[in-house]
């Protein structure tokens, strides 16, 4: 008896060790970015790298921020992301209410389309989107990027929000109406607040998607003073080679907003794509 307990403990310990190892392997690249960002140049360009940033410096951040087009890129990214978040929320919430609360002809077709459209490869669409935007003289404007992001983000948001709206029992609204609410009032006071977590989660999804995109911004925003932060970051190499310190500092700065938001809502994001899948 004692033997099996000990064996089980030993096995648990073995799993824990493998778990720690897996954690170390997964997190190392992220750690290496942050660590490099805080190292002085002479510690970065060494054949035997130091694992810890000591001495510690902020020079790389100062350098990255002072690079040409950093602040214009931050501005472009913020404009694009905030516009996309606001508009996509309005579009997606309206559509989600439409499919979750109404039975109508074409509803199933709309849902299938929402699903299929999420599978369209973005890489394949940049050519026609570029030519169409070029025909409208919209290339190199932030509006062209915003509209493209909307089309790629809204379907997922509709899908997720629809689940939130559908999970609110109609009876709750009815109860509010018995207590004297109008239909609109019941909707605003019952459905809307109960959807708040879903709205926050999808808003952050929209934020992350549009903040992280590279290819659309790369193709559509041709001049450096219009480019977004990821395009700025990807073009960090110079003819003389790469300045790894400032690059890692810039990469850290680019990640901070995304990581912050992501950690806040990860539990909603996880369930979105596969919700209900186990029902088989």
């Amino acid at each position: 008896m004692a033997l099996t307990v000990r064996r089980r403990q030993a096995r648990r310990l073995g799993y824990d060790l493998v778990g720690v190892l897996a954690f170390a392997v997964m997190i190392f690249p992220v750690y290496w970015m942050v660590s490099t960002a805080f190292k002085p140049g002479r510690d970065i360009l060494r054949f035997d790298p130091k694992l810890l940033p000591s001495p510690f410096t902020l020079a790389n951040f100062a350098d990255a921020v002072a690079r040409p087009f950093f602040w214009t890129s931050v501005r472009s990214s913020l404009i694009v992301v905030l516009t996309v978040v606001v508009i996509s929320l309005l579009l997606a919430f309206a559509a989600a209410v439409g499919v979750a609360r109404f039975g109508f002809r074409g509803r199933r077709a709309f849902l299938v389309m929402i699903l299929v459209v999420q599978m369209v490869p973005l890489t394949a669409l940049v050519i026609p989107v570029f030519l169409l935007m070029d025909g409208l003289d919209a290339v190199d404007t932030l509006a062209s990027v915003i509209v493209t992001y909307l089309a790629f983000i809204v379907p997922f948001m509709v899908w997720t929000l629809r689940g939130f709206v559908a999970n609110i029992p109609v009876e709750l609204e009815e109860a509010a109406m018995i207590d004297g609410c109008t239909r609109a009032g019941a909707f605003m006071r019952v459905v809307f607040p109960l959807c708040a977590p879903g709205l926050v989660a999808t808003a952050i999804f929209a934020f992350i998607q549009s903040w992280n995109d590279y290819i659309v911004a790369y193709v559509l925003l041709r001049s450096p003073d219009h480019q977004t932060l990821t395009v700025w970051l990807a073009s960090f190499t110079t003819n003389r080679g790469t300045d790894w310190g400032p690059l890692m500092a810039g990469a850290t700065l680019t990640s901070v907003p995304v990581v912050t938001f992501f950690l806040l809502v990860q539990r909603y994001v996880t369930s979105g794509l596969t919700a209900g899948a186990v029902k088989g």
Binding site: G19, F23, R108, P121, T123, F130, V170, Q266, A277, V278
Partner: protein, 331 residues
């Protein structure tokens, strides 16, 4: 039914939301209470804006792409905003181009490799998460969250730096561990090694989503089933394949489809990793299509490559949509 006598205001579009599709009788019974046109128009008004954006920026460009692939569309045509119809010439050209077939095979191999590796590792890590003790599980899922949240472009830059030929930490570590002499080893000189790193990068980036999703699925497998199988003498390996895997099948189908879709259209990882100047031995379909269109300025040919890419992906999409339809999510 508390009915609707008060709901005469014009914002009734959203108010009618209270009539759920949950019950057909609800719809029928309240019908006389409101003007029929408003009720039947409301859902269409609600979905219209989203539909317009999706149609304008996805459906229409899809059709445009198909048309473009039948045109000669170079720089003069770009200036004139008008292509020249050439029938299937672009496809014939592709079919007789040995480089294109290399690219297709390379993309398929790359996708199969990344998807297989990330699914296998993802499932293994999820099973590990189930078995480790509480604090370690927290540590592991926290680490996965950080990786998940890392933007793709940032991740590519990090891996580029780790595998830098001069000062990269990978070459130092491999030399120190006596794997061989990796001082000044350029990983991207040999496309096979270069793709090894790109595959590792893609798998590393894909793991968090896969692990968390499979782990969430594992939590839904009834304990009694596993215990019954174990007490009947099944090994852990048998329990996984005979009990757990069949229950998780729907999740695996979805994850397989999504991974295939994401990896098959890979562009960023190759393009940025090779500083926007990949040699043709690094072309995957996404890169090839981009180069034909935006570097060679033959948009028609680039479009033809994209159409082939979409056509291959539609097969993966088919299984995904069928799975979702079966799971009742469309009701």
């Amino acid at each position: 039914m508390c009915a609707v006598p008060t709901a005469t205001d014009e914002a009734a579009g959203s108010a009618a939301a209270a009539l759920g599709p949950r019950s057909g009788t609800l719809l029928t019974r309240s019908r006389p209470l409101r003007p029929r046109l408003v009720r039947s128009a409301a859902p269409y008004l609600l979905i219209a804006p989203a539909l317009v954006v999706i149609a304008a920026v996805m459906a229409y460009p899809m059709g445009f792409l198909a048309g473009l692939s039948l045109q000669n569309y170079g720089l003069p045509e770009l200036i004139a905003h008008q292509g020249v119809f050439v029938g299937a010439a672009n496809y014939v050209r592709l079919a007789t181009d040995p480089l294109f077939w290399q690219v297709v095979v390379r993309t398929v191999v790359f996708t199969v490799l990344t998807v297989a590796l990330s699914m296998a590792l993802g499932t293994a890590l999820a099973l590990l998460m189930e078995r480790v003790s509480g604090p370690i599980r927290l540590l592991l899922s926290g680490g996965l969250m950080f990786v998940w949240a890392t933007p793709v472009v940032v991740a590519i830059d990090i891996w580029q730096w780790m595998f830098d030929y001069e000062f990269g930490v990978a070459n130092w570590a491999l030399t120190r561990l006596h794997v061989g002499n990796f001082v000044h080893h350029n990983w991207f000189e040999n496309p096979l090694q270069g793709f090894g790193i790109i595959v590792a990068l893609v798998v590393w980036g894909a793991l968090p989503f896969l692990v968390i999703t499979v782990y969430a699925g594992l939590m839904q497998v009834p304990r009694e089933l596993v215990e019954a199988a174990t007490s009947d003498g099944a090994t852990a390996w048998q329990v996984f394949w005979q009990v757990t895997a069949p229950i998780l099948r729907p999740i695996f189908v979805i994850l397989l489809s999504l991974s295939t879709i994401w990896d098959f259209q890979a562009f960023n990882q190759v393009w940025i990793m090779l500083n926007a100047r990949p040699s043709s031995s690094y072309y995957v379909m996404g890169v090839y299509s981009y180069v034909e269109a935006f570097r060679v300025t033959q948009y028609g040919r680039g479009a033809a490559v994209s159409v082939v890419l979409v056509a291959i992906l539609m097969m993966a999409t088919f299984f995904y949509v069928r799975q979702m339809a079966r799971s009742g999510e469309l009701e």
